[in-house]
């Protein structure tokens, strides 16, 4: 086969085996069916007990543009994206040159054997993959051949790395929901390819996998499915949405799971899901449903958020519960629609017009997407306000290992709602009166059969009794109450997760999908550079008061996030203010890709060195 025709350079030196800790990158074309092959590989490794994370780096395109899938194996359990990979599988001629350079020195280059490339790197092991020959032989249906070609590299990798064929088969079963036909046909190609590799390739690289038990009890899931499940267990009764990547799969998961989990005994639905005509209407419907007493939600991404601005302000001021998921992607404008960013923080926090700020939850992984999936409703109804959940493309669409989700222990919090009986007992009702001193008024639901129940909801100025008012004192009083309510929110939203390390003079503050890179960077700083760091992970806005103490306890605090304008850093500066402000350091990066520990580590090392030089020159 092709091997002998090519000038292949192989490293010769014997090297110690590299087991369960390396990264694989598969370069293919969008729409070629590689997603199945990659998720099957990922799942098989996961089932072998090896900690893995899979990230799909895909273009905004249906078919033809290059796409990359990275699988990171890490015996130590690190899951952040690696900037380069030890093993590269090149299936796309268009990017082969670039992909070739991407391989870490000492690594492996697997390539479809019809790719013409000068394989001149002496530091790599090269293996051809006879994708066309094998897939043509086994897949008679020409339409399925590109899918089959992807299974060839799975088989070759299985042989080279020692991936269990049984686990690959069970991963295929999982993927194809135990349909025998596709499982068998794909498995046949995997087997044939592994056998071909055994007969034709001489292994010259040190990489292999071995079973371990580090994924026992864990599940594998994406954040959007987790969020949808959270909403279902949180008792959502209404959802309206408009398709947009990377949020679509959240609504898809709602639509897929709700019939199973939320059909009443009479076979009827305990929820309604509407595909709206746009995001503006989607939030309008949610506001209407929330006003009428439903647990209502929508999911979108940046461009949809802009269309929701007017309703967000209305919901804040008229005090209507709503849950809005923003699965963030790159802006401005349409930006890079299939790439990740944490760029909507400021926009969403202040979304609306006039003086307006929102409760935002910041999940860092699927388990938190599930938790915030139900908690967001409790908070929205307790606080009578729109609650935003800022996830992102990396959390939402990629596969993450996760502990199984915990069933919500607290009963649902439906907030301060008065029914007819309570109205009778009270004898009076003022919709916007601060009865309890926490800024949260009482509300009634349309249809409540009591002459005192009704009130008029409006986005215009109103007094305690919900009457129209342009009086300056009514305005000031109402805004002051909304301020008190926001302070109540500050106390009841999910509080930060803090790791204060003894003797640490520097610290990190971060949130969302930047978390794995920060955790790994902390490990590197401690083990390779003897720098101890503390870490505070923000889980919600408004920012907790305890953040001030955390900043005060450290000399320098790096605020790590994925955007160009250092948005959380700006909010933190406002929050800690005064003398503490100078301790904060922006450590933001945004190029469309998930953050790497390497970037965080080197950023901090450089900054710390500059700091030391500054100290020295004093």
């Amino acid at each position: 086969m092709a091997v002998s025709d090519l000038q292949v350079v192989q490293p010769t030196a014997e090297r110690p085996p590299m087991v369960n800790t390396f990264a694989i990158m598969v370069a293919t074309k969008n729409g070629s069916g590689s997603q199945t092959a990659n998720t099957v590989l990922l799942r098989a490794l996961f089932k072998m007990g090896i900690p893995v994370s899979g990230k799909n780096l895909f273009p905004s395109n249906i078919q033809g543009l290059p796409t990359w899938y990275t699988i990171r194996l890490s015996a130590d359990g690190f899951t952040a994206r690696r900037p380069r990979s030890e093993i590269v599988v090149a299936m796309n001629p268009a990017t082969a040159i670039e992909d070739y350079q991407h391989v870490e020195s000492g690594g492996v280059f697997l390539y479809a054997d019809d790719i013409k490339l000068d394989l001149n790197r002496k530091d790599l092991s090269h293996y051809p993959v006879p994708a066309k020959a094998i897939s043509t032989k086994y897949e008679k249906d020409a339409r399925l051949r590109s899918y089959a070609a992807n299974m060839v590299y799975v088989g070759v990798l299985a042989h080279l790395l020692g991936i269990s064929l049984e686990e690959l088969e069970s991963a295929l079963n999982f993927h194809f929901k135990h349909k025998p036909k596709p499982v068998q046909s794909n498995m046949q190609i995997i087997r044939a390819s592994a056998e071909w590799a055994a007969q034709n390739l001489t292994k010259t690289d040190p990489f292999r996998v071995e079973r371990m038990n580090k994924t026992d009890g864990l599940i594998m899931i994406d954040g959007n499915t987790a969020a949808a499940l959270g909403a279902i267990y949180g008792g959502f009764t209404f959802a309206a949405w408009y398709p947009i990547t990377p949020a679509t799969s959240l609504a898809d998961a709602l639509t897929a799971y709700a019939p199973r989990l939320r059909t009443g005994p009479d076979g009827k639905a305990t929820y309604a899901i509407i595909q709206a005509e746009d995001e503006l209407a989607a939030l309008g419907m949610v506001i209407g449903a929330g006003w009428a007493g439903a647990r209502a939600m929508t999911s979108t991404s940046g461009p949809g958020i802009s269309l929701m601005a007017e309703f967000a302000g209305f919901g804040y001021y008229a005090e209507i519960p709503a849950v809005i998921w923003d699965i963030q992607r790159m802006g401005p404008s349409t930006g890079l629609p299939t790439r990740v960013s944490q760029g909507d923080v400021l926009k969403v926090y202040y979304l609306g017009h006039g003086d307006c700020k929102h409760v935002c939850l910041l999940p860092a992984h699927p388990a938190e997407c599930f938790e915030f999936g139900w908690k967001a409703f409790d908070l929205a109804e307790r606080l009578q306000t729109p609650v935003f959940v800022l996830s992102d493309l990396d959390i939402g669409m990629n596969q993450w290992m996760s502990p199984p989700f915990e069933y919500p222990e607290q009963p649902m919090d439906r907030g301060k709602v008065l029914d007819a009986k309570q109205l009778d007992e009270l004898g009076s009702f003022a919709r916007y009166k601060d009865v309890d001193g926490d800024g949260i008024p009482y509300r009634t639901l349309p249809g409540t059969p009591h002459p005192l129940a009704a009130y008029f909801t409006r986005g215009t100025g109103h007094n305690e009794k919900a009457g129209y008012s342009e009086r300056p004192d009514d305005w000031v009083k109402n805004m002051a109450r909304l301020g008190r309510k926001f302070e109540t929110a500050r106390k009841i939203v999910p509080q930060p997760v803090v790791q204060e390390v003894e003797g640490a003079r520097i610290a990190f503050i971060s949130y969302g999908s930047a978390d794995p890179a920060v955790e790994e960077a902390r490990w590197r700083l401690e083990h390779h550079h003897q720098i101890k760091t503390s870490y505070l992970r923000i889980r919600a806005l408004p920012l907790a008061d305890s953040i001030k103490d955390f900043v005060a306890a450290h000399d320098r605090v790096y605020v790590v996030e994925l955007n160009t304008d250092a948005q959380m850093y700006q909010l933190l500066r406002l929050h800690v203010g005064g003398e503490l402000e100078v301790r904060l350091r922006a450590a933001n990066w945004s190029d469309g890709l998930p953050l790497t520990a390497r970037w965080v580590t080197s950023h901090v090392l450089q900054a710390e060195q500059a700091e030391a030089e500054k100290e020295g020159s004093k």
Binding site: Y233, G235, T237, R262, A289, A292, Y407, M412, G447
Partner: protein
């Protein structure tokens, strides 16, 4: 002994009409919108609906302010400019037991809100959607709206060179099954339309010409009182009949046509004369509207009726209890179901 007949000034719930009042209007004296508010009160009172079972919704504009001025014990929501349809869709889906009365303007519906208007009709959300159509933006002081006639002149806005959007025509092309036009200066007609519309199982659109006495009431304006009084061409007459009521329509020459509405209530139509409009004929309705627009005719009446389409809530196959009032026991799936799901993802 026979049951005492309800006193003449009380409705079937034993309530006087005064109970159905709202706050005093802050609109201009003589504004057409005020008379429509009064007719809404009449209709709801006469039907004997409980006010708590009615929700009032509106967008933004003089017209959209008016829900504060009727049915003081009904829940109300004054939403965003042009966006009442989406809010209504959400509210009326999660509580199907409510009657919805939406009030909008020609700017609110015909310009900024045209998209939401059409999509709500397409979904067939059960509610009465009233357009208080004055051909101008009242609240922003007299700009042309999209329903202004071509060639019309206004003091500040000058001459309108663009053709009008006919909102009834838009409604029919969006498959709305209850489309009528009326005139704020014809109280009886407005009341019976609202009563019938409240009993329609879907969106009922009432395009009511409602003169703006401040910005668009010159005699030569087709949206003025004078024009309405002098040019009104009634395409048909009808009665709204409650389930137990007897038909009181005068049995004059000509056929009658009955259309069954919700819970046995009916519309009984009398064709005015041979060859006149049949409101169950969609194409005839569209032709009628198109011709009236071309000839600047002021036609009123029930233009189109079709009771076949299911409403959105019916299509959604929802449990009987309104979604808004479902208890936790029906909303949170069991612990075991989550454990099973988690097991499958391992």
């Amino acid at each position: 002994m026979t049951a005492a007949a309800p006193a003449k000034n009380l409705n079937s719930l034993g309530l006087p009409k005064a109970e159905y009042k709202g706050l005093p209007s802050t609109l201009c004296a003589g504004c057409g919108h005020n008379s429509i508010s009064d007719k809404i009160i009449d209709a709801v009172w006469e039907l004997g609906l409980r006010q708590e079972q009615v929700i009032k919704l509106s967008g933004i504009g003089c017209s959209s302010k008016s829900p504060a001025y009727f049915l003081g014990r009904s829940f109300g929501i004054n939403t965003l400019h042009g966006r009442m349809p989406s809010v209504a869709t959400g509210a009326l889906t999660v509580n199907r037991t409510l009657y919805g009365i939406g009030v909008s303007g020609d700017g609110d519906t015909g310009s900024i809100g045209l998209g939401q208007f059409k999509h709500m009709l397409r979904r067939n959300v059960r509610m009465v959607y009233i357009i208080e159509n004055n051909g101008v933006y009242g609240l922003t002081k007299g700009q042309f709206s999209a329903t202004a006639d071509i060639g019309q002149e206004l003091k500040h806005a000058g001459r309108n060179e663009l053709p009008p959007i006919d909102l009834c025509l838009e409604a029919i092309t969006a498959e709305c099954g209850f489309v009528a036009r009326s005139f704020a200066g014809d109280p009886k007609h407005v009341i019976s339309l609202i009563k019938a519309a409240l009993n329609y199982r879907g969106t009922a659109v009432l395009d009511i010409i409602s003169p703006c006495v401040t910005f668009n009431d010159r005699d030569d304006s087709t949206k003025s009182y004078y024009w309405g009084k002098t040019h009104d061409e009634r395409i048909n007459d009808f009665s709204f009949v409650m389930p137990q009521e007897e038909i009181v329509i005068d049995q004059v020459e000509g056929e009658t046509l009955e259309v069954e509405l919700h819970d046995g209530s009916r519309i009984v139509l009398r064709k005015l004369a041979e060859g006149q409009h049949d409101p169950t004929d969609k194409y005839a309705a569209m032709r009628l509207l198109q011709e009236a627009r071309d000839k600047q005719q002021f036609i009123t009446g029930l233009i189109y009726i079709n009771t076949e389409r299911p409403s959105l809530a019916e299509l959604a196959n929802l449990v009987d209890t309104p979604l808004a009032f479902l208890p936790q026991s029906q909303l949170r799936p069991s612990r075991e179901s989550l454990e099973k799901l988690m097991e499958a993802m391992k």
